[in-house]
C-alpha cells in the first residue's frame, strides 16, 4: 500500500540522479539515455536569465550543508563585463564526517555533474568551472579525468561546445587533505595556490571570488540537479518531496544499521522510514542517537525522531539541521562521551588556526572531553564546555567554530546523564 508522507509515494519513486542504468558513467551510455540533451537545449534555445529564473522556480536548495537557495545564489552574479572572467567552483571536497554521497555520485554518474556545471556556465556566462576534489579521492579523480577527456573529444566541453559559439572549460583541481577547504572562501584560497585560510566576508564570492573575479560555489549534488531541472522543468522538480525543500536527495546512511549505503529518495522522508529501508538496527538493538546530516549538526536522541522528516524545516523544528544528509545511526551500546571526544578531536585537527577562539577553543574542548572520558573530569567541566561554546560561536572568520560548538553543546545537553556519570561528584563526602 502506498504510504503518503511529505515525500509522497516514495515506495514507487524512480531514481533520477542515479537512475538504474548499467555503466551510466560511460559517455556513450549517458548520451544514449538523453545525456547532454539538456545542455543542447540550454545553449541553443534558452537565454541566460531564463536559466536562472527556472532554477529559482524549482526551489532547489544547496546540498552542501548550508541549504542556500541555488537560483538566488546564481542571481547574485553581477552583470557581465567584458574582460572580467567569471568562474564556477564545484565543491567536491566532501570531508564532513558521515558524508559520502558525492563520491558515489561521481563514481556512478560523473557526466551529470559535468553537464550541470556547463548548464550553470550558460546561466551565468562563465569562463570555466574548477572542480575541487579532495586529495584522498585520487582514484575517482583519475576516473573523472578519463570521462572528462572523452567529453572534450566529443566537443561537449571546451571551445564551441556542441557546435555553438559557447566556450567553457572544466578543470579538475586536486586537494591534499584539509577539511577546511570545503568552506567556500577557503576553497578559493586553496585554488589560488595558497594556504587555505578562509576569507572574511564580505566581499562575497559573487563580487570577488577566485582571482578577484565573480565566482559561484556549489556542491556536487546541487550542480547535478541542474540538468534535471532544466530538462524536465522546474514544476516537475518542485513537485518531488517536501514543498519548501524539494527534489531528489542522496541519503548517506552509516553506522549501526543492517544495510548502510547511499540511497536516493525524495526529500522529506520520515527518519523512521529511512531506518526501515536501511534494514533496521543491526543485531536487533535499539536506536540511541542519530546524527542527521554530518558531524556539524546537533545530535538527536531516539525519542526525538518520531514523525520528523528529512527536510530543512522539519529538522529545524526537531532541533537539528539537514546538513549534508549524511545520517549516522548509533545503537544503545554507544558511548556518547567517546563519540564527542572523537568529534572534538576532528575539529581540533581541522581548525585552520587563523582565529584564536577556534584554534584554542577546539583544543580546550578536546582536552576537557578527553579528561571526562578518562574519568578524571569534574561536573563543572560540563558547564565550562558549554561556556566555551558560547565563547566560540559567531566570533570567528568562518563557520567551523560554530560547527565545532554545536555538536558539543547539543550532545552534552541531550545526553547529560551519560556525561555526569563519567564525572567526579561535585561534592566530596567529608571524612567523618
Amino acid at each position: 500500500m502506498a504510504v503518503m508522507t511529505k515525500a509522497g509515494d516514495w515506495k514507487s519513486y524512480q531514481r533520477v540522479l542515479l537512475p538504474p542504468v548499467k555503466n551510466l558513467h560511460q559517455l556513450h551510455v549517458y548520451r544514449e539515455h538523453g545525456g547532454y540533451e539538456t545542455l543542447k537545449k540550454v545553449l541553443t534555445e534558452m537565454e541566460p536569465q531564463d536559466v536562472t529564473a527556472e532554477m529559482k522556480r524549482s526551489s532547489l536548495r544547496g546540498r552542501g550543508g548550508a541549504g542556500f537557495p541555488t537560483g538566488l545564489k546564481w542571481s547574485f552574479m553581477p552583470p557581465v563585463k567584458p574582460d572580467v572572467p567569471r568562474y564556477l567552483c564545484c565543491n567536491a571536497d566532501e570531508s564532513e564526517p558521515g558524508t559520502f554521497k558525492d563520491r558515489q555520485l561521481r563514481e556512478y554518474n560523473p557526466h551529470v555533474l559535468f553537464e550541470g556545471s556547463l548548464v550553470a556556465g550558460d546561466g551565468m556566462s562563465l569562463k570555466a568551472c574548477y572542480l575541487y576534489v579532495r586529495g584522498e579521492y585520487a582514484d575517482w579523480i583519475t576516473h573523472m579525468q578519463k570521462e572528462l577527456a572523452n567529453a572534450y573529444d566529443s566537443k561537449l566541453v571546451g571551445k564551441n561546445m556542441l557546435g555553438t559559439k559557447h566556450n567553457m572549460d572544466i578543470i579538475i583541481h586536486k586537494g591534499a587533505g584539509a577539511y577546511i577547504c570545503g568552506e567556500e572562501t577557503s576553497l578559493m584560497e586553496s585554488l589560488e595556490g595558497k594556504r587555505a585560510y578562509p576569507r572574511i566576508k564580505p566581499p562575497f564570492p559573487a563580487q570577488s571570488g577566485i582571482w578577484k573575479c565573480p565566482t559561484t560555489i556549489n556542491n556536487v549534488e546541487t550542480l547535478a540537479c541542474a540538468p534535471l531541472i532544466l530538462g524536465r522543468g522546474a514544476d516537475w522538480f518542485a513537485s518531488i518531496g517536501a514543498e519548501k525543500n524539494p527534489g531528489p536527495l542522496l541519503y548517506g546512511i552509516s553506522g549501526h544499521v543492517n544495510r548502510p549505503g547511499v540511497y536516493e529518495y525524495p526529500t522529506g522522508m520520515l527518519i523512521t522510514d529511512l531506518l526501515e529501508i536501511a534494514g533496521g538496527m543491526r543485531g536487533g538493538k535499539k536506536l540511541k542517537a542519530l546524527i542527521p546530516g554530518g558531524a556539524s549538526v546537533p545530535v538527536l536522541r531516539a525519542d526525538m525522531i518520531e514523525g520528523v522528516t528529512m527536510d530543512i524545516e522539519s529538522l529545524r523544528e526537531a532541533g537539528s539541521m539537514l546538513g549534508t544528509a549524511g545520517m549516522l545511526f548509533l545503537d544503545e551500546d554507544t558511548d556518547m562521551v567517546a563519540f564527542l571526544r572523537r568529534v572534538a578531536h576532528f575539529y581540533h585537527h581541522e581548525s585552520c588556526g587563523q582565529c584564536t577562539p577556534c584554534r584554542e577553543g577546539t583544543g580546550w574542548m578536546e582536552n576537557l572531553i578527553t579528561r571526562i572520558d578518562d574519568g578524571e573530569g569534574n561536573l563543572r567541566d560540563l558547564d565550562l564546555l558549554l561556556d566555551l561554546c558560547d565563547q566560540m560561536e559567531g566570533r570567528t572568520v568562518c563557520a567551523l567554530a560554530d560547527a565545532a560548538a554545536w555538536p558539543v553543546r547539543n550532545t552534552i545537553k541531550r545526553f547529560r546523564e551519560d556525561f555526569e556519570r563519567r564525572c567526579r561528584p561535585a561534592v566530596w563526602a567529608v571524612n567523618a
Binding site: D139, K174, G193, L328
Partner: protein
Amino acid sequence: MAEFIRNPVVELPDPNPEAHFSEEDLVFTEDEKSRITDWVNQYPTSDGAVMWTLWLAQEKFGFLPPEVLQLVATELSLPYAQVYGVATFYTQYYKEKKGQIVFDVCTCFSCQFCGGYDILAYLEEKLDVKRGHTSACGRYTLQEVECLGACGSAPMMQVDNGPYMHNLTPEKIDTVLASLEAGQSLPFVSITLPQDEDEMGGNRRTDADAEERYLTPPRPRQTQ
C-alpha cells in the same frame, strides 16, 4: 617567563638542514615539465598549479624536504615561503620520510563505532608499529586519519593515498598485507548501492576491478 625563554616550547626548524637529495637528482624531466606547463595553463597565474606540482614532486621523491620545495618554487617562479606554506598546511603532503607503504586508517565517528580502532590496533600488532609511526624496517607507516568519505563501508582505510579498502576485518587485512608483500597492486573496488542491488541485481559498473557490497560491520570493541 624566564623559564620559558630558557626552554622555548616551540622547536625552531633547523636553519641549515641536511639535504636528502643531491643536485643531480633535483630536476624534473622534460615530460614532467610539460605536465607542469599544462597545469600552469589551466589557471590565470602559476600559483594555482602549486598543489598539482607538489603532488608530482611527492610522487617522484616520496616526500617533500626543503630542497624539493625549492625545486617546485623555482619551477613555478614562486617564493619559497609560499610553497612551504602550502606544503605544510595540507596533511597529505609528507614533510618527512614515510614508509614505502602508508596505511591511513579512518577512525572518525562512523568508523570509530564500526570497529575502526580495532582495525588500527590489529595493524599495530601485525606490523609491529605504533600509530603515527613508521616500522623499524622502514616498510610501513601507520596513520590515523579523519573521515575519508566512505562511512557506509566502515571500517575502512586508504593505502598509499590510492585505493580504498572497505568493510575491513582482520582476515581481510591479512589478505591485503599478503598481496602487498607479494608486490601486487590493490584493485579499485566499487561499492554496490543497496538500491542497485535490488533493482539491477548487482553493481552498475561492469568495468570495476572488484565489486563489494555495503556490509553490516562487525561489533566494535575499542573506541579509542
